[in-house]
């Protein structure tokens, strides 16, 4: 009984470690495909179009509403302490540092990550990937790598758009609707937000999240059971895993970047 339990534990551990190793190998392979992706940038461009342009509307509308809410909620809180003039700073810092990268990564996982997983999973189910291998075409290089690099490149763009639109949303609510002084809104923001510390770290964060989300999505699709249920399960796992790892990584990155 005990021996069997131990054996089971050992086996599970072995599977988990092997899984991590396999994921790391795939990740390394994707990284090594960077030069070939640059050489055939057309493939990456098409994926950027698919992942980026079609997510743009979702990202900017969400950013606008997040900015609205931040402006409204921030105003109610700040006004209690008589410092409603710091509204711009509050909106800009929370968007640039945290909400921009994180929320756009979560939206990206839902909007683009799932479609990547489903696409690759169905390719696998339809044995297209095997067929490519038979023709001596490496599916990692031809199919996975362009999608991966497109995701990595597109994420900072989307996150910057999210933050910029969000700040404009906060401005609309704070200045135009509530009537916070426009000068102090922008002035406090400009004196409190640092280009490298805040905006730069936000870009670094979004690069990390882009890497995470697209890698998780591609790996789930690549490892999916080649059945309809398998693809469905893989898609679900993509959203769960990608969102959780984005949030966990955000905590780690924030702890690394913004500790004084």
């Amino acid at each position: 009984m005990i021996v069997r339990g131990l054996a089971h534990l050992g086996w599970t551990l072995r599977v988990v470690v092997a899984d991590i190793g396999h994921a790391a190998r795939l990740f390394w392979q994707l990284l090594c495909c960077a030069p070939s992706c640059l050489r055939r940038f057309g493939l990456v461009r098409d994926q950027m179009h698919f992942l980026g342009n079609y997510s743009l509307a979702l990202i900017s509308v969400s950013g606008l509403f997040v900015g609205f809410v931040l402006g409204l909620q921030g105003y109610y809180t700040l006004q209690r302490y008589g410092s409603a003039s710091a509204l711009g700073l509050l909106v800009a810092l929370s968007l640039v540092r945290e909400l921009g990268p994180v929320v756009s990564a979560l939206l990206f996982a839902g909007r683009a990550g799932t479609s990547l997983t489903a696409e690759i999973g169905l390719m696998k189910a339809g044995e297209q990937l095997s067929a490519m291998e038979m023709m001596a075409i490496d599916p990692v290089r031809r199919i996975l790598a362009p999608r991966f690099w497109a995701g990595v490149l597109v994420m900072p763009i989307l996150s910057a758009v999210f933050s910029a639109v969000g700040i404009l949303g906060g401005w609309v609510v704070g200045v135009l609707m509530i009537g916070v002084d426009s000068g102090s809104f922008w002035g406090q923001m400009q004196s409190g937000v640092d280009v490298w510390r805040d905006v730069g770290n936000g870009v670094v964060k979004s690069l990390v999240f882009g890497t995470t989300v697209s890698f998780v999505a591609l790996r789930q699709g690549f490892e999916a059971q080649p059945t309809p249920e398998g693809v469905a399960r893989a898609t679900t796992r993509t959203v769960v895993l990608a969102s959780l790892s984005v949030l966990a990584l955000d905590f780690v990155l924030t702890a690394l970047m913004f500790t004084i």
Binding site: F41, G42, L56, S83, A160, A164, V199
Partner: protein, 159 residues
């Protein structure tokens, strides 16, 4: 490389992203106001710097003329040694005085520099002598209470 319609759209996406970043850098972080001007460094010893931080402004007559570069504790004099970088076009007499001030009631602290009367001007590496510490609220309150307690309680005697 083959051309396709996607080129335009992806190019547009990249341009929008660049515009958003530029907006963040210029409008919210005010990159242009970062001064790349030449500065000279001067040091000063303060008894107490309160909540002064690195990168705090050095202002004269309310105008920013420099930044606090570094703050260290001087274990010989038990004072805080503050290194400031002042822009070269702003020149101050050697006997200028420094004060740690607070912008608003709860605002951040900065150093106010008041010009002295001497002919010689500050140069790189100079040490300013005339400094005034930050006002620590607790000290102020305790002094006030102490004075109150020391006062003869004449109100009660009248009655």
């Amino acid at each position: 490389m083959q051309r396709s319609n996607n080129d335009i759209w992806v190019g547009l996406l990249v341009l929008i992203g660049a515009a958003a970043l530029l907006f963040l850098a210029l409008q919210s972080a005010n990159l242009l106001s970062l001064s790349f001007q030449k500065t000279y460094q001067v040091t000063a010893l303060f008894d107490n710097i309160g909540g002064l931080k690195k990168q705090a402004a050095v202002k004269s007559a309310g105008v920013v003329v420099g930044r606090v570069k570094n703050i260290v504790f001087d274990s010989k004099t038990y004072q805080a040694k503050v290194v400031m970088a002042i822009e070269v076009q702003h020149q101050f007499p050697k006997d200028s005085s420094l004060k740690i001030l607070t912008s608003g009631l709860l605002g951040e602290q900065y150093i106010g520099i008041e010009a002295g009367a001497e002919e010689k001007i500050l140069v790189e590496g100079d040490k300013l002598q005339d400094t005034q510490s930050a006002v620590v609220l607790e000290n102020l309150i305790s002094r006030f209470l102490y004075n109150k307690a020391a006062e003869p309680a004449d109100n009660t005697e009248v009655k």
